[in-house]
C-alpha cells in the first residue's frame, strides 16, 4: 500500500507520524492530523480527508463527519490570512459588528468568504475568550484585543502591505490593539505561518527564522 501522504512536505509527514504515535488509539490523532492536513492543503479538502482516513484507519465519510462538526477545519480554501472577528456577547456589546464591517470593507471580502487574490478570508466567530479585551480579532488564530473599528481597517491594510510570513500576536497587539483581558506578560516571538493554530505539532514559527 503506498503511503497516502507521501506528497506532503517532509516536515508535515514527520508531524503526522509523531501525532499517530501520540495516542493509545490512532483515531484520537484525527483532529491534530486535520490541522496538519490543512497546513498542507490550505483546508480540509476531500483529498486531505481521504489521506487522514487512510492514516487513522477509518472511512473518509467518518473523517468528514468529524471535520465538518468543527468550525476550524475549513471546508473551502482559506486565504493567506484568516481574519476572525468575535461578535459574541461581550464583543457585541462593545461594537464587534462594527469591527467586522470595517474588516470586510478594508479586505474587500464578505464574512464567510475568501477574496479572489487569496490573501484574506474573513469570518465572524463566537466567543474567543478575549471578552475583557473586547472587541477582539484573531489573525490566523493569533489574538489582538481592544481592536476598535478604525484600527481594524488599519490592521488589514498593514497585513496587505507587509504580508508577514509569521503572524505575531504581540506585534499586532502593539500596533492595532487596545485594552486587554489581562497583562500578557513578556512578548512572544512565535506565531502562525498559516491559517492553522500555531502550535508546534501543527506548524508554527519563530520570527526571523
Amino acid at each position: 500500500m503506498s503511503n497516502p501522504i507521501s506528497h506532503w512536505s517532509p516536515a508535515n509527514q514527520e508531524r503526522a507520524s509523531r501525532l499517530l504515535e501520540a495516542y493509545p488509539d490512532r483515531r484520537s490523532a484525527l483532529m491534530p492530523l486535520l490541522y496538519v492536513a490543512s497546513l498542507e492543503h490550505r483546508y480540509a479538502s476531500d483529498d486531505a480527508m481521504e489521506e487522514v482516513a487512510e492514516l487513522t484507519g477509518i472511512t473518509a465519510a467518518q473523517v468528514r463527519s468529524v471535520a465538518t462538526f468543527y468550525t476550524m477545519f475549513k471546508q473551502a480554501p482559506v486565504g493567506e490570512y484568516l481574519i476572525s472577528v468575535c461578535t459574541s456577547i461581550s464583543c457585541h456589546l462593545l461594537g464587534g459588528e462594527d469591527v467586522l464591517e470595517s474588516v470586510e470593507e478594508a479586505a474587500g471580502v464578505e464574512h464567510g468568504s475568501t477574496g479572489e487574490d487569496g490573501l484574506f478570508s474573513v469570518e465572524h466567530v463566537e466567543c474567543i475568550g478575549a471578552c475583557g479585551g473586547a472587541p477582539a480579532v484573531q489573525v490566523n488564530y493569533e489574538l489582538i484585543e481592544g481592536v476598535m473599528p478604525d484600527r481594524a481597517g488599519a490592521l488589514v491594510g498593514w497585513l496587505r502591505d507587509t504580508k508577514p510570513d509569521v503572524v505575531l500576536a504581540d506585534e499586532m497587539q502593539q500596533l492595532f490593539g487596545g485594552v486587554r483581558s489581562f497583562d500578557w506578560g513578556p512578548t512572544e516571538a512565535e506565531g502562525a505561518i498559516r491559517p492553522v493554530p500555531a502550535f508546534a505539532p501543527y506548524g508554527s514559527a519563530r520570527e526571523g527564522r
Binding site: 500500500m1 476531500d46 480527508m49 481521504e50 477509518i58 472511512t59 473518509a60 465519510a61 467518518q62 473523517v63 468528514r64 463527519s65 465538518t68 462538526f69 468543527y70
Partner: protein, 811 residues
C-alpha cells in the same frame, strides 16, 4: 449478583411484572403501552436522540422527564406516560420535527406507513406556528446505486447510520455538519456501497431513504403482504414479500431472531425483480434445427416422457433442485429413483461438500448459538460474500465479546474484527490444519483461543478449487473443541432442504444413507422398487455424459456450465448428451443446451417448506401466480409421471408435505398447517438423530498439490455475480465488481507486475492485477462466476504469466 427473574414497574397506575435488563420503552410496549419514538430500534444501541419517547419517572427528587428508550427498567419504577407534562413534551418534540419537514406526504413513498405522519395525526397541532423559512436541501441524492436520500424528510434519528456502522460495519453514511445544518451524507465519490444498504430503507422511520426500484411504485395501503423466506442463500432469511397488482414490488425483512433478526442482504431484498424479468422462460420450448420454438405443455411433456422412458434408469441423471422447495425436491428424488429408476441425483454441482457431512454433521449449531459462543471459528468461504446475514450475526457476536478465528487463503470480510487470522497458501489447508491443531509455534495463540468454549465452528469450502475433503478434516478437528457446535456452509437457497429430501447420490429422504438397506426397504414399501446402490454425483454424471455412459439429463434450475468446477467438462457433457431436459426460469448457459426447456415456477410463485443451514424448516409461500405458463416442479413431475404410467400423487403441495413427514424420520413433525407463519413464528428445527450421523469423521488425508512454477488458485465466490438471477434483477444487475486477480506483493515482484498491470491465467483469461498483502504468498485470488472469469476451471493450480505491452482484452 444474579438478576431477578422479573421486576415490578408501575405504568400509569397499573403494576406490571416485566423482564429486567430491558429498556422502559420496550417493557412498556410488551405490556401494551406504546410510547412514540423515532430513533429507538430494538436491534440498535440506544441513543436517545429524537426525544420523542420522553415520559415521567418518579425519582428521589420528584418526577422528571426521561427518554424511555435509554432508561433501563428497575424494580419499583413508577412511570407516567400520559401526564400533561409528557403530552406537552411529546407534542413539542413533534412540532420541532415538523417545522423543517416538507410535509410532502402525498408524494412520499412512506405516506401511509410513516410514524411521523401517524403521530402528527394523533397528537400534532392542526396549524403550524412556524412561519420562518424551512431548511431545504437539493432534492434526492443517491447515496448508492440502490438507495436515495431526501435530506429534507430526514429526522436525524441515527438509525441508518448506526446500522451502517454498528451492524453492517460499513460506516459510509455519517452525520455531517453541526447543529441545524446536520445532515446524513456519504463522502463524495464513496457511495454507501454496502451489501446491506437496503436495511436502512426499512429502518428509516420516515421517507428519507427510499430504494430506487420502489420509488413511486405503490402506496402502502395497496400492498399485499406474504410472510415467506428469501431463497437467495441457505440462511433463508425470513421476509415479507409485498405485491401490488400481481407483481412483487418490495421485499422487507421480518424480524425473526432465530434467523435474521430483521436484516436482509441487498441480494435478498432486491433479487425479486428477476421474477418479472423479460427473459423469463414462460412457455415450454422445444429445440429444432434452428433453435427453440414454443410448444404446449402437452406436446413438451409427451416428448420428454417418451425420451426418458426410452433409457435404462441408470442412463439418466438429474442435477439441481437446490433452489426448489422441499416438496419439489422430494418429488424430484421420488421421480428419479422410482419412476426413472435412477439414483443419479445431485442437488450440488461439484462445488459443494460431501452431502452426508452437510446433512448430518453433529453437534449441529443453531445460528443463535453464535450469540453465546466464547470462540467462533470460521474456516470456509468469505461469509460476507456468501452468507451475508450470517456474517452480520458473527459481527454481532464479536461486538459482544466473542473471540473470532478466521482461516482462509485470502482476506475475508471478517478479518478486521478477528482476533486471529490464519492465512495459508491455497491448497495447503490440511498442513495448516495439522499445525493449528498441534498448536505449533506460530499457531500457539490460535490454538489457545480455540480452547475456550463454547466454540461454534462454521466450516465450508473456501474456494471451488479447494479439496472438499479439507472441510471434513476441519470439521473433525472442530468437533474436538470444547463444547463445540458446528454449521457447514453450503450456499444455495435450499440446498440443505434438497439434501434432506434425498437429492444426493448417497442420501435418501430424511438423511438416510442410500446404502442403508432398511431405509431402501422402507421406501420400496411406500413407492416400489428403487436403486439399491448409491448413484452418481453431478461431476460423475457430467463426465459420464461425456463418455456416453449417461445418455439423458434432467437439469432443474442448475447451470453446471457456470457453477461446476470444470465448466468445459459440463459444456462437453451437455453437448454430447442424447437428450437434455431443463426445468428452469431462464435460458442459462446450460439450459440453452437442452432439447426441451420447461418453464419452472420459482420463489415468489411456489408454496411449500424449505430448510436452512441449521436445519430450520420455514414456510415459503406464493405471493403471485406463476409468470406465464410456469409450473411448480411437483406439478410438472406429477404430469410427466402420469404420461410415463405412474401416479406420483404430487400435484398438491400439502400431500407431499404429509408424505415427507411419513417417510423422512427427521421431518415427522413438519406439517404445512404448523408452519402457517404469523410474523413472530420462528419455524422448527428438524433434529438430527446423532445415532444416524452418517459422517464417519475419518478425515481423508488431503493431498497438497505439488506446485512449483504455478500459483495455487483461490476461486472465491462474490455476492454479486454473473449468475442468471443476478443479471436479471435490475437493481443489482450492475453491481458485480470487475474481476481482478489478487496476488501477494512478493509474487507481484517475482512476476514483475504492479497494480493495474495484467496477468494471463492458463493462457485463456486476462485479468488486471491487484497487489494485496492479505493474499497468501503463492496463491492467486480470482472471483468465481463473473463475466470476466467465465469458464475458468477450478484446478488446484494455474499458470500465471505477466502480460506485456497492450496485449489485453479477451474474456
Amino acid at each position: 449478583m444474579p438478576e431477578p427473574a422479573s421486576v415490578t414497574i408501575t405504568i400509569n397506575g397499573v403494576e406490571h411484572e416485566v423482564e429486567p435488563g430491558q429498556r422502559l420503552i420496550s417493557a412498556a410496549e410488551r405490556v401494551g403501552v406504546m410510547i412514540p419514538r423515532f430513533c429507538h430500534h430494538d436491534k440498535l444501541e440506544p441513543v436517545g436522540k429524537c426525544r420523542m419517547c420522553l415520559v415521567e419517572v418518579e425519582g428521589p427528587r420528584g418526577k422528571s422527564l426521561v427518554p424511555s428508550c435509554t432508561m433501563p427498567v428497575s424494580d419499583g419504577m413508577v412511570v407516567d406516560t400520559e401526564s400533561a407534562v409528557v403530552e406537552k413534551a411529546q407534542e413539542g418534540v413533534l412540532e420541532f420535527l415538523l417545522i423543517n419537514h416538507p410535509l410532502d406526504c402525498p408524494i412520499c413513498d412512506k405516506g401511509g406507513e410513516c410514524p411521523l405522519q401517524d403521530q402528527t395525526m394523533q397528537w400534532g397541532p392542526g396549524e403550524s406556528r412556524f412561519i420562518e423559512q424551512k431548511r431545504t436541501f437539493p432534492k434526492p441524492i443517491s447515496i448508492s446505486d440502490i438507495v436515495l436520500l431526501d435530506r429534507e424528510r430526514c429526522v436525524l434519528c441515527d438509525r441508518c447510520t448506526r446500522f451502517a456502522d454498528d451492524i453492517a460495519g460499513d460506516p459510509l453514511i455519517t452525520f455531517q455538519q453541526r447543529g441545524n445544518d446536520v445532515q446524513i451524507q456519504t463522502f463524495p465519490d464513496e457511495p454507501f456501497a454496502s451489501y446491506f444498504s437496503g436495511n436502512t430503507v426499512q429502518l428509516c422511520p420516515v421517507g428519507a431513504l427510499t430504494s430506487v426500484d420502489y420509488r413511486f411504485k405503490a402506496r402502502p395501503w395497496d400492498l399485499e403482504h406474504t410472510a415467506s423466506v428469501s431463497l437467495v442463500d441457505s440462511v433463508q432469511s425470513t421476509a415479507d414479500v409485498q405485491t401490488s397488482r400481481g407483481k412483487i414490488i418490495r421485499v422487507y425483512a421480518i424480524e425473526n431472531d432465530a434467523v435474521n433478526e430483521g436484516w436482509l442482504s441487498d441480494k435478498d431484498r432486491f433479487i425479486f425483480s428477476a421474477v418479472h424479468a423479460e427473459d423469463r422462460v414462460t412457455t415450454p420450448l422445444i429445440k429444432e434445427e434452428d433453435g427453440f420454438r414454443e410448444a404446449s405443455w402437452a406436446e413438451a411433456l409427451e416428448l420428454v416422457a417418451d425420451k426418458l422412458g426410452s433409457y435404462r434408469g441408470d442412463e439418466v441423471a438429474a442435477i439441481g433442485g437446490s433452489r426448489n422447495t422441499n416438496e419439489e425436491a422430494f418429488v424430484l428424488g421420488k421421480f428419479m429413483r422410482w419412476v426413472v429408476g435412477s439414483g443419479n441425483v445431485d442437488a450440488q454441482a461439484g462445488d459443494g461438500i460431501d452431502p452426508a457431512l452437510a446433512a448430518t454433521l453433529t453437534p449441529r449449531a443453531r445460528i443463535a448459538d453464535l450469540d453465546t459462543a466464547s470462540t467462533i471459528l470460521v474456516w470456509g468461504p468469505d461469509l460476507k460474500e456468501t452468507l451475508p446475514v450470517l456474517y452480520l450475526r458473527v459481527r454481532k457476536a464479536v461486538r459482544n465479546g466473542a473471540t473470532l478465528v478466521v482461516a482462509s487463503p485470502a482476506g475475508t470480510g471478517l478479518d478486521g474484527i478477528a482476533a486471529h487470522v490464519v492465512r495459508y497458501r491455497a491448497g495447503s489447508g490440511s498442513d495448516t490444519l495439522r499445525k493449528v491443531s498441534a498448536g505449533e509455534a506460530d499457531y500457539a495463540a490460535v490454538r489457545e483461543a480455540l480452547g475456550e468454549g463454547p466454540v461454534v465452528a462454521l466450516v465450508g469450502r473456501s474456494s471451488l478449487a479447494e479439496d472438499p475433503k479439507l472441510v471434513e478434516a476441519v470439521a473433525s478437528f472442530a468437533r474436538s473443541l470444547p463444547e463445540a457446535k458446528l454449521l457447514t456452509l453450503l450456499e444455495r437457497g435450499n440446498v440443505y432442504g434438497a439434501l434432506d429430501m434425498g437429492l444426493a447420490p448417497t442420501l435418501l429422504p430424511g438423511r438416510m444413507s442410500a446404502s442403508d438397506s432398511t431405509a431402501v426397504e422402507t421406501l420400496e414399501d411406500a413407492w416400489g422398487p428403487i436403486p439399491t446402490e448409491p448413484g452418481r454425483s453431478a461431476m460423475e454424471s457430467l463426465s459420464d455424459l461425456d463418455e456416453g455412459v449417461i445418455k439423458a439429463l434432467l437439469l432443474v434450475g442448475s447451470d453446471p456450465v457456470r457453477d461446476c468446477p470444470d465448466p468445459s467438462l459440463a459444456a462437453d457433457g451437455l453437448e454430447r448428451a442424447e437428450f437434455v431436459v431443463a426445468v428452469d426460469a431462464f435460458l442459462t448457459d446450460s439450459s440453452s443446451l437442452a432439447d426441451v426447456v420447461l418453464p419452472g415456477a420459482v420463489w415468489g410463485e411456489v408454496d411449500g417448506t424449505v430448510t436452512n443451514l441449521e436445519g430450520r424448516v420455514q414456510r415459503i409461500r406464493p405471493s403471485i401466480q406463476p409468470v406465464g405458463q410456469a409450473r411448480p416442479l411437483n406439478v410438472v413431475l406429477d404430469d410427466l409421471a402420469l404420461l410415463m404410467g405412474v401416479e406420483l400423487g404430487s400435484a398438491k403441495v400439502g400431500d407431499v408435505t404429509a408424505e415427507i413427514a411419513r417417510i423422512a424420520p427427521a421431518y415427522a413433525s413438519v406439517t404445512l398447517d404448523y408452519l402457517t407463519f404469523e410474523a413472530d413464528e420462528e419455524g422448527i428445527v428438524v433434529p438430527i438423530d446423532e445415532s444416524t450421523d452418517l459422517h464417519r469423521y475419518i478425515p481423508a488425508e488431503v493431498s497438497v498439490p505439488v506446485v512449483t512454477d504455478r500459483m495455487t488458485l483461490h476461486l472465491a465466490p462474490a455476492l454479486y455475480d454473473d449468475g442468471v438471477w443476478n443479471r436479471n434483477a435490475s437493481s443489482i444487475a450492475e453491481l458485480p465488481r470487475a474481476a481482478t486477480a489478487a496476488i501477494h506483493p512478493r509474487d507481484a515482484s517475482v512476476l514483475a507486475v504492479a497494480d493495474g498491470d495484467s496477468v494471463r491465467i492458463n493462457e485463456t483469461h486476462t485479468l488486471p492485477v491487484v497487489v494485496d498483502s492479505e493474499v497468501a504468498v503463492g496463491s492467486i485470488v480470482i472471483p468465481f462466476n463473473q463475466r470476466e472469469t467465465k469458464g475458468i476451471a477450478a484446478t488446484a493450480s494455474v499458470q500465471v504469466d505477466p502480460v506485456r505491452g497492450d496485449a489485453q482484452g479477451d474474456a
